[in-house]
């Protein structure tokens, strides 16, 4: 009996402790943005700026575009982040605010000498119709094809651009990687690999000394300038979405990202703000 009573006391103490920690949330309104990890760096940089200037508390979380949409519908975030076009059903349920677009870089190992590929050559590589780098003037080495995992926005963007079907992808892939960082890690460690990653992420990784490099696509140099003037052909839009007109903190964040300061921050992250 005594043991039972101590057990009850212990349980209530535990519960009290859990509640106490829950109540210690900051008083300031918290702006929560969840969704595409590609949008995350932008939100992160804007968050720092807004904390410094306005004392706002912005919290970003990844989880993919679809999570951003579902959290938005369920009211679990202030704004959702999406890195792909919305489906018609999705469009009917939320308001989408385009904030920027992002180039998709074709990335190889730094030791790979090839100059670039065309869209058709990219298709042939990913369909395993061409399997050796020597076909493109590279060294005599097998081509290792890297894809992103199911559910990632870039996989969808790449599929749409090259016209590959899901079945063709699973049949010819050598490596499936999760997020951008993982694709970069695979390619940095595999001298004969090819993959596609958010352009800004590759530029950052290469600057940090990782042995990866971007190649030309259809003869267009993969630099921010060409993404900005839309001569670089492979890019995708970044959206912030909201169930109704955004209120309070969500509104402030959105307005900030569309202001000149916000656009400067987006450019700093190697994304292209909308004019």
């Amino acid at each position: 009996m005594r043991k039972l009573r101590s057990l009850a006391v212990a349980a209530s103490l535990l519960a009290a402790a859990l509640f106490a920690s829950d109540c210690r949330r900051p008083q300031a309104e918290q702006i929560v943005v969840t969704g595409a990890s590609t949008v995350y760096p932008i939100v992160q940089m804007a968050a720092e700026e807004l904390r410094r200037t306005k004392g706002l508390n912005v919290m970003g979380q990844g989880g993919g575009s679809t999570r951003g949409f579902e959290d938005c519908i369920a009211g679990r975030n202030s704004l959702g982040a999406m890195a792909r076009e919305l489906t018609p059903e999705e469009k009917a349920q939320v308001i989408a605010f385009p904030i920027a677009y992002d180039g998709v870089g074709i990335v190889v190992h730094a030791s790979n000498q090839i100059d670039g590929v065309t869209t058709e050559e990219l298709r042939q590589i990913y369909l395993k119709q061409v399997t050796n780098w020597s076909s493109f003037g590279g060294r005599n080495d097998r081509i290792v094809v890297v894809h992103k995992a199911e559910g990632h926005a870039l996989r969808e963007v790449f599929m749409k651009y090259t016209g590959l079907t899901p079945d063709e992808i699973t049949r010819h892939t050598d490596v499936t990687a999760g997020d951008n960082a993982q694709v970069i890690r695979v390619i940095a460690n595999t001298s004969n690999a090819i993959g596609y990653v958010s352009l800004g992420e590759v530029i950052k990784a290469a600057e940090a000394g990782q042995p990866v490099r971007l190649v030309k696509l259809n003869g267009i140099e993969p630099v921010m300038e060409n993404v900005t003037n839309k001569t670089y052909p492979l890019f995708h839009p970044l959206y912030l979405i909201s169930k109704g007109e955004p209120q309070g903190g969500g509104r402030l964040l959105l307005d900030f990202l569309r202001s000149p300061e916000g656009k400067a921050i987006i450019r700093q992250g190697n994304y292209v703000p909308l004019e």
């Binding site: 679809t66 559910g151 926005a153 899901p166 490596v175 499936t176 990687a177 695979v186």
Partner: protein, 274 residues
């Protein structure tokens, strides 16, 4: 009424904190089962038993992932068990005490290396040789489960009574027969060691996902392969809705398999007196 004396504080604290890990395990299991049953109900067992895993096309067949897991684990065992048994036999039956102590310390250290470190090493040393493939994944796994099997089966062999071995030697048989006697006597403990190693192999994710290629396919030694855990690790961060619940279902399958093997392995070890 309560009177809060020292003894009561002591028991309250002890029982409360002692119950915490158990509650945590139950909370985890309930959370996984909750999401998994939701997914199983919505997807249907017939669909789950198919071989097509294409969540974007609403295909949720886990059969090939399961086969991938079994294939990678089985090959890893085939690679690891012979080596580890010879090594355990030498260290427990013949090595001098100093050698054994040093070797066990090193093997224990190998078992403590974080899997992401092993994965990075394997990406630069194993993948260039064998590609992102079934064989690479199994080699990495074999390396990771070898310490568990060596140390546990070594402990089982150490429990073989010395007079049993001396009696065999007195009969004039050669050392191969003597060690067979030792292995026969320790067979339950060794089985337990192998089973516990298997459960570690089933749950390993990070290192395997860095070398396996993670492409859903029929097992082929030199082609990429996906397992239950590698699929979890590369898809969970971007999955939503039913896709996410299906991944919880996969997590649930892994949890059940590992729990069952752990219980079985420990039972075998207990019967051997370890």
């Amino acid at each position: 009424m309560f009177r809060w004396n020292r003894a009561r504080w002591f028991w309250t604290g002890t029982i409360g904190l002692g119950a915490l890990p158990i509650l945590a395990i139950f909370a985890l299991a309930i959370f996984l089962f909750w999401n998994a049953t939701a997914a199983a109900g919505q997807i249907g067992l017939r669909e789950l038993a198919t071989t097509e895993w294409l969540p974007q096309q609403s295909r949720y067949g886990v059969a090939r992932l399961l086969i991938g897991t079994l294939a990678v684990t089985a090959l890893a065992l085939c690679l690891a068990v012979p080596v580890t048994l010879f090594s355990a036999g030498y260290l427990s039956l013949y090595a001098r005490r100093k050698v054994r102590a040093a070797a066990n310390a090193v093997i224990g250290l190998l078992g403590g290396i974080p899997s992401v470190v092993i994965g990075l090493w394997a990406m630069t040393w194993i993948v260039p040789l064998f590609g992102n493939s079934w064989i690479s994944a199994s080699l990495v796994l074999a390396l990771m489960i070898a310490p568990t099997i060596t140390l546990l089966s070594g402990a089982a062999l150490r429990l073989v009574p010395a007079d049993l071995l001396e009696a065999s030697r007195a009969l004039g048989v050669d050392e191969a027969i003597v060690s067979r006697v030792a292995f026969h006597h320790a067979r339950r403990g060794i089985l337990g060691a192998v089973v516990l190693g298997t459960s570690r192999a089933l749950g390993e994710a990070v290192a395997v996902s860095m070398v396996a290629g993670n492409v859903v396919s029929w097992p082929n030694l030199t082609r990429p392969i996906a397992t239950l855990t590698t699929t979890l690790i590369i898809e969970l961060d971007s999955a939503a809705g039913l896709h996410r619940d299906a991944l919880y279902l996969i997590a649930c399958i892994v949890l059940i398999a590992i729990s069952a093997l752990s219980v079985f392995g420990r039972a075998a070890q207990r019967r051997a007196g370890i």
